[in-house]
């Protein structure tokens, strides 16, 4: 390196806690979210939803709605059916009703739409639509779904004689059976991970704008995956793909909620085509909470085969997943229950077997990857709850039991018993850092002393390793579309640049961090690079942003396209310096002659030459595109430790400390990484403490607004202590980065729950299902029994 090399941190490269570019508009109230867009002649759409969970529609009379001045169109299922749009395909090879024709299958299902001059008029008109229903018995959990004589929810489907969607298995059943035969002890745990809703503050919405003159359809919408939506619209609406432009403007949080295709999008598009005017649909919060992608709602029956010394010999898991009325998960198609089989990836276990059954119910379609890589949250929660129970059953120390069973640093790449190949990690070191930070030994002493005085302290450990960055394309596709991603980089003649990717951020700071990757690769100051995403007419094809795949895949593509640019710039440098390419060295921002380091040219000089002084025979310009198909998933690791105090009189628990040790490989922007971890920990705390959506026996959604669906505020949310000292670069990612956006939400919940259960040690309580509401904790403490969170069965059975 010569004295003229740039200081990477100063130019905002890799490792710089660069302040975010996108903030400049958000702090001024100048963001551009879907609802902020107004188009000339725009109409407004509102949706009429079903009040019942399961009912046959006997009649729909919309005549009064048509009569209201200002109403332009009323859409019902029958009208959709004449255009073959009453049903649409889902991302999981199922179908979903756009507007109900025969039956309603969950409370809040879309029954009709009104398009009017004004949303107030459209809402009035929705109320004027008369729908008559004949109620049918609702099914609200998987046990009811498979009970003999259960009504068949999906009687619209041929060959669907029951409510089972799939039976899926992975692992080695015979080897697992043998492990259990050899076990000294079997630890068993039944758990329920309750329904939850990602609930970004911004609800879903779209503005469809079909232009009859150009035949082009432009849709502004809240989507995390604009290119997937373009493909879906092309297939569903039978429009040519090049005449569809999906623009995803600023998104007010996604967390997986804005991946699926929702009926509202489809209806606004059809309405715009019929009326030839822009049609805006903005969902209200209740609509968002009761009808759009739920997450979780899954039951576990887990068993662990143990040797007396603490070695885990085998794991057996059976899961029942409640998918709601339509199987509309957005997940890799080969895996019916997401990546649930990532469970126990961090532990060295000889044999494991997982079976899963998916069932329909009279609830909104669920199973979205809520801040996780396709059911990894459930996998890690089950794993860490089972690990805690097993250590307790053995009478072993929680930390020692984990350490003993961890995959060791020298064993990577490691093939997990359920089929993944983990890439790297320092699991024991992460645990050491976390134990030291929380003062483990000291806390155990305090816990003992407090116990003697009737105070209940608890400590919960959770670890997680998350498979992030789908694909590779061999194994990962959605409806056959391979899961790779892309980046396009254009360097202008003055050395400024624009980078576009197939991802679509929702607050992760792509506009800041993608520039930092280019800066790291090319030495162009980050402030000279603009980032653009979310417009399918300009961005290269990509699968979008969810499952923490942006940095592992699109971020890798940004690095790879930068290297293509650098390779061409090297040729330009050789031309400018009048030496051969082999005699040239690169340092940040500059090529120089190896034998004469003072002779060099900057990347900006190369850029100018690409437009003004290229060698004979060279194609002008300095632009390129890279498609990145990752060789493997990236595998971050984390240890979360939480300490709590439980009030035995009320069951209320307070968090004393939360320690997070995240090893996500190389951190592009440490400030942003820490922001992601704190956000994830808060959602973890929320799920453990208060955030769930349940249903009564009639299928009424309890949690249809923020009065009932509790989200933590600044007042409840505890403070977090983050540690970044363990760094295991990803061996196959171009800059060594791993995913991080979701880790804390994935691994966090078990730490909070384990802490409360630990506080109850000695009472015989092995489980309280989430959320650990005060009444549940109080019940467990008072009656010394486990508390299940399974929803009620019908009272009139």
């Amino acid at each position: 390196m010569t004295a003229q090399a740039l200081d990477e941190i100063k130019i905002g490269g890799l490792g710089a806690s660069r302040k975010r570019v996108e903030d400049n508009r958000f702090i001024r109230g100048k963001g551009n979210y879907t609802d902020d867009i107004t188009l000339p002649g725009m109409l407004h759409m509102e949706i009429l939803r079903s009040p019942l969970a399961h009912a046959r529609i006997t009649s729909i009379d919309a005549s009064k709605a048509w009569d209201i001045p200002g109403v332009h169109l009323v859409l019902t299922g029958d009208m959709m059916a004449t255009r073959n749009l009453a049903w649409m395909p889902t991302l999981s090879y199922d179908t979903q009703a756009v507007l109900a024709t025969d039956k309603v299958r969950f409370q809040g299902q879309e029954v009709a739409c009104v398009i009017a001059d004004d949303p107030y008029i459209a809402k009035d008109a929705c109320e004027a639509i008369d729908v008559e229903y004949e109620p049918l018995p609702p099914i609200v959990n998987p046990m009811q779904a498979v009970a003999e004589g259960a009504p068949v929810i999906r009687d619209d489907k041929e060959n669907q004689a029951d409510n089972v969607i799939y039976n899926w298995e992975v692992g080695d059943a015979a080897a697992t059976d043998r492990a259990f035969e050899q076990a000294d002890m079997v630890s068993r745990l039944k758990l329920h991970y309750p329904r939850s809703h990602p609930s970004p503050i911004e609800c879903c919405g779209s503005i469809a704008d079909f232009n009859r003159a150009t035949e082009k359809l432009t849709v502004y919408m809240t989507t995390q995956a604009p290119h997937i939506i373009r493909a879906a619209v092309a297939l569903v609406a039978e429009l040519p793909e090049h005449m569809i432009r999906i623009i995803s403007p600023d998104i007010g949080g996604g967390f997986g909620n804005k991946v699926p295709v929702y009926p509202g999008y489809v209806c606004s598009i059809l309405a715009s085509i019929l009326l030839e005017r822009p049609v805006k649909w903005i969902e209200d919060k209740t609509g968002n909470l009761i009808s759009t992608g739920f997450a979780r709602d899954i039951y576990l029956d887990g068993e662990m085969a143990l040797r007396q010394d603490g070695k885990i010999l085998g794991v057996r898991m059976h899961c029942d997943a409640d998918h709601g009325a339509f199987f509309s998960d957005a997940q890799p198609s080969k895996f019916k229950i997401g990546l649930l089989h990532s469970a126990f990836a961090a532990y060295d276990i000889p044999a494991a077997h997982l079976t899963a059954r998916g069932t329909y119910s009279n609830k909104a379609p669920g199973g979205v990857a809520y801040r996780c890589s396709f059911r990894v949250t459930e996998a890690m929660f089950f794993q860490e709850r089972m690990v805690q129970a097993a250590a307790d059953d053995l009478g072993m120390d929680q930390a020692a039991f984990r350490r003993m069973n961890f995959v060791r640093d020298e064993d990577f790449p490691h093939r997990t018993p359920l089929g993944f190949l983990t890439d790297s990690g320092q699991y024991g070191k992460c645990l050491d850092v976390a134990l030291k930070a929380v003062g483990y030994e000291e806390f155990r002493k305090q816990q003992e002393e407090a116990r003697a005085k009737g105070r209940l302290f608890g400590l919960g450990i959770s670890t997680m390793t998350e498979p992030l960055g789908a694909g590779n394309s061999r194994e990962y596709d959605i409806l056959g579309i391979k899961m790779f991603d892309s980046a396009e980089l254009k360097v202008h003649m003055t050395g400024k640049a624009i980078v576009r990717t197939g991802a679509r951020g929702q607050g992760q700071g792509h506009e800041t961090t993608w520039a930092q990757i280019v800066s790291h690769e090319l030495g162009i100051p980050a402030e000279d690079i603009v980032v653009e995403e979310g417009d399918t007419d300009t961005a290269p094809f990509g699968m979008g942003t969810y499952a923490s795949r942006s940095t592992p895949v699109a971020g890798a593509a940004v690095a790879m396209v930068s290297r293509k640019i650098r390779a061409k710039a090297r040729k330009l440098a050789a031309h400018l310096l009048e030496v051969s390419e082999e005699d040239i060295e690169w340092e940040l921002g500059r090529f120089y002659v190896r034998s004469a380091p003072d002779r060099g040219v900057t990347i900006q000089e190369c850029a100018m030459a690409a437009y003004s002084n290229m060698p004979d025979g060279m194609e002008p310009g300095l632009e390129n595109t890279a498609y990145y198909d990752p060789p493997n998933l990236t595998w971050p690791f984390a240890v979360y430790i939480v300490t709590v105090e439980v009030d035995p009189a009320t069951g209320v628990w307070d968090v004393l400390t939360t320690v997070a040790v995240d090893d996500c490989g190389v951190r592009i922007n440490p400030m942003i990484v820490e922001g992601q971890i704190m956000g994830g920990l808060t959602e973890a705390y929320a799920m453990a403490n208060m955030q769930f959506i349940t249903f009564d026996a009639e299928g009424n959604c309890i949690g249809s607004n923020y009065m009932d669906y509790l989200l933590p505020t600044a007042w409840e949310t505890p403070g977090f202590e983050l540690h970044s000292e363990v760094v295991t670069p990803c061996p196959h990612h171009p800059i060594g980065a791993k995913g991080i956006g979701e880790c804390a939400a994935v691994g966090g919940p078990a730490a909070f729950v384990n802490a409360v259960i630990d506080a109850l040690s000695g009472t015989g309580v092995r489980n309280i299902d989430m959320p650990l509401l005060p009444d549940r904790v109080w019940e467990a403490l008072t009656y010394r029994r486990d508390v299940s969170g399974a929803p009620p069965v019908r009272s009139d059975d």
């Binding site: 963001g31 209200d284 704190m678 600044a714």
Partner: protein, 184 residues
């Protein structure tokens, strides 16, 4: 007269929709509008005035994304924080409101805006305007709040991205800067 919210549709029967004229001040400018009595303040702000920095999240006074400051005639100070999704537009008649667009001057950001950027107090940005308005009301009253006071003052505003820790830091950053400015 400026009609800031006009709802041009097919002609209704004479007198079918009652309309009320209101006068108010927004970000220091006087406005007149004719509005339906049921029109929400948040819709007047967003659609009528085109001030889309005030966001609508929950429609039920829970999330606080629509928080603006409101001041009655004769009241002193910067105004009280109100959630504009559960106020009617007619309620601002004769009153003064400040939205996020009124925080900065033409050349200078408000210290709260700087603080949110400095301390990474936002991610998706959707709750941010409401957070800053609630925080402004706090700092107008209490220039030197504790962390606990900040958390309490913001407890009517939900954020799903940040986990609040950096939001609290942002507000404390702004408080320190405002105090330093006041000390001259």
């Amino acid at each position: 007269m400026t009609v800031v919210y006009d709802n041009i549709g097919d002609a209704a029967e004479e007198g079918a929709v009652p309309v009320r004229r209101i006068t108010f001040t927004v970000n220091g400018r006087k406005k007149v509008a004719e509005v339906e009595p049921r029109l929400l303040l948040s819709h007047l702000i967003r659609r009528g005035l085109g001030l889309t920095g005030t966001h609508m999240g929950c429609d039920t006074t829970n999330c606080g994304a629509c928080t603006v400051l409101m001041k009655g005639a004769g009241e002193v100070g910067g105004g009280r924080p109100v959630k504009s999704c559960t106020m009617l537009a007619v309620q601002v008649d004769g009153r003064e409101i400040t939205t996020v667009e009124g925080l900065a001057t033409a050349s200078e950001l408000h210290p709260l805006q700087e603080g949110f950027k400095e301390e990474h107090g936002l991610q998706c940005g959707f709750c941010t305007p409401g957070m800053m308005m609630a925080a402004k009301a706090l700092l107008d009253e209490n220039p030197d709040p504790t962390e606990e006071e900040v958390r309490w003052a913001l407890s009517g505003n939900l954020c799903r991205c940040t986990g609040y820790q950096n939001i609290v830091k942002s507000v404390l950053w702004a408080a320190a800067k405002l105090r330093a400015e006041a000390a001259g």
